[in-house]
Symmetry: C2
Subunit: 361 residues, 2 copies
């Protein structure tokens, strides 16, 4: 079957050229007679792949030497647990701004270790807007302030980096990293599961300001210790090599396509077109998020008549548009339009939506 347009929220679509390269070298990586999946992580071949991936990500996001870059296993949820373990003393206050499902997950990982202060939450409004910075109740003695840069399920996104003074800002960037230029210097820690904009699931990027390594943190296993991972250059234990390699191919693709500046332009066009189609559907489709904070990556939308959902999903799939079912927490539909979703995919979706509306409106 020809490749479809896949709007899955993550694991998500990957560039054809990346998958083609991974396919072509899966049994024989660059003439060594073995797959990159089979090679020792400490051999010169994978060490080269790993170093190139880091260099490319640093170039892509303009990450300075004040930051270390780690490639870890365990997903963003594990990263959420490592933040309090490494940045706070036991029971210390930490501020969390909750703007959707993943902010709540972050708190769940932190509560056993720190005194979680919910500095702001938009839950009462169904996470359809962001709490105004002026209303945040930050703690003067907080170990850090945690935000979720983009909420994958609710489709809300910080369009500006909030100023939290001298307290380190920690951000879950899983679903929007590398979708546009980012001023890394405004953050203490950025973490991101790779499976949306960076590549395959199974590897998590952690970008960590070096001076935070001076914090003692709290009792923890070696494998949960940032310092051990930094010392081990993300090879404290055997890392997920294939996943890291595939992310590296995605970084090279992004650089070749013009870097995050170019993806910012493409993503802005894709999101604008899709929201315009929803807003211009005369109420047939609906997105409830406040316009200034609508996510450029994840576009949840609802049909005016939920009894049409089943037909919408069946017909879109038949039209080669998959992964549109909304998260079970919200229902409805969701189109995830990360870097690897071409503009042609969004145009095809809009075309289908218009056609479906005419037939069922």
């Amino acid at each position: 079957m020809p490749r479809v347009f896949n709007f899955s929220a993550g694991p998500a679509t990957l560039p054809d050229v990346v998958l083609e390269q991974a396919r072509d070298e899966l049994l024989d990586w660059r003439g060594v007679g073995a797959s990159i999946v089979e090679l020792s992580h400490r051999g010169k071949e994978f060490m080269g792949v790993a170093a190139e991936a880091e260099a490319d990500l640093r170039r892509l996001l303009s990450i300075s030497d004040d930051y270390v870059v780690l490639f870890l296993a365990g997903g963003a949820t594990t990263a959420q647990a490592l933040v309090p373990l490494n940045l706070a003393s036991a029971g210390q206050r930490a501020d969390y701004v909750v703007t959707g499902h993943w902010g709540k997950t972050a708190i769940k990982q932190a509560r056993p270790y720190v005194d979680v202060n919910i500095a702001a939450t938009s839950e009462a409004g169904g996470f359809r807007d962001l709490p105004a910075r002026a209303d945040w109740q930050l703690s003067p003695d907080a170990a850090y302030v945690h935000i979720t840069a983009n909420e994958t399920i609710h489709g809300v996104e910080f369009r500006d980096i909030p100023d939290v003074g001298d307290v380190p800002l920690v951000a879950d960037f899983s679903s929007s990293i590398a979708s546009e230029p980012l001023d890394v210097s405004k953050f203490g820690v950025i973490y991101a599961g790779a499976q949306k904009n960076l590549g395959p699931v199974g590897v998590t990027v952690v970008i960590l300001r070096r001076n935070l390594l001076e914090r003692a943190g709290q009792p923890r296993a070696d494998i949960f210790d940032y310092r051990s991972h930094v010392k081990g250059e993300s090879m404290l234990n055997t890392p997920p090599t294939w996943n890291w390699y595939l992310a590296g191919l995605v970084f090279k693709w992004m650089l070749a396509e013009g870097g995050v500046e170019e993806f910012a332009r493409r993503n802005a066009r894709k999101a604008a077109a899709l929201y315009a189609a929803i807003d211009g559907s005369g109420g047939f489709y609906r997105n409830d998020v406040a316009a200034p904070v609508r996510s450029r990556m994840n576009v949840p939308f609802f049909l005016h008549d939920a009894s049409l959902d089943k037909a919408f999903l069946a017909e879109s799939e038949a039209a080669g548009l998959i992964g549109l079912k909304g998260h079970r927490a919200l229902g409805g539909m969701r189109a995830s339009i990360y870097n690897a979703m071409p503009e042609a995919g969004v145009r095809a979706l809009i075309g289908f939506m218009d056609d479906f509306r005419k037939r069922h409106g």
Copy 2:
């Protein structure tokens, strides 16, 4: 280049047929028009892959319903940290039997959480033998007893499951799982990084006796809680889907080849032939491990003259035999001969070793 024989300790060689299948369906998994790497972990396609992998592993190892099987991220080292967090109360006594490098790693992960009692260690003898069961100093009140079934670096292996009474036996089986039949019912927890006998790095199998879930454990993030992973069916967060899928292909291959009984026969033949070649080399090659506990999976050996090491590695690589360099902790050579290493590979290695000896002896 044609495929070489890869003796890497892990990531390790995979069956050609598994890699060929993964290659052929990398861009289009069974006609859905997308890669399995790109599909939602909660979609029917991956859910089917995941369920089949579990069913196949249960069949392969005859795992009863008294046990749950988890497919987790984070490697065996993370699994080592989860054991004390879930099975012991804070500061409770736990017994560790140390028979090599990985036993020491297990202790490093456990010390922040439990009172580690080294019940036995063979470190004084350079980990060349196993401490006799009669000499173990087990604690009557231990939360569990931890062993490393096979030590990948030192090449020593438990050939019998030690009797530890009613205290749950926890075993790191990373480098020998599925290499022969195993009586799972003798264990409380078995864990194994997949990258040796089960497939690719990036997924870890945990086989857990259900009644151990009744233990309260100690304060921990949700993502470190066995019960949450069980409830979430290993999808508490986005699991490493491609790695899980590839492990599933390896399980199917193992079943098709005749299961663990057949691999036990092949592995016994491979190990016997290689040790015989070493022992029969008139001292040119040497393995220092006590014969009854020599590992069937990892065969470390030394050349009588270490100044020949460089030539041995260069010439073996030129002969299409890669990954033979010993771990940096021991030096010398190591041949890892897991399930996926064909008998022809071991014959080729023995042929090369004989030839090298004749030329340099």
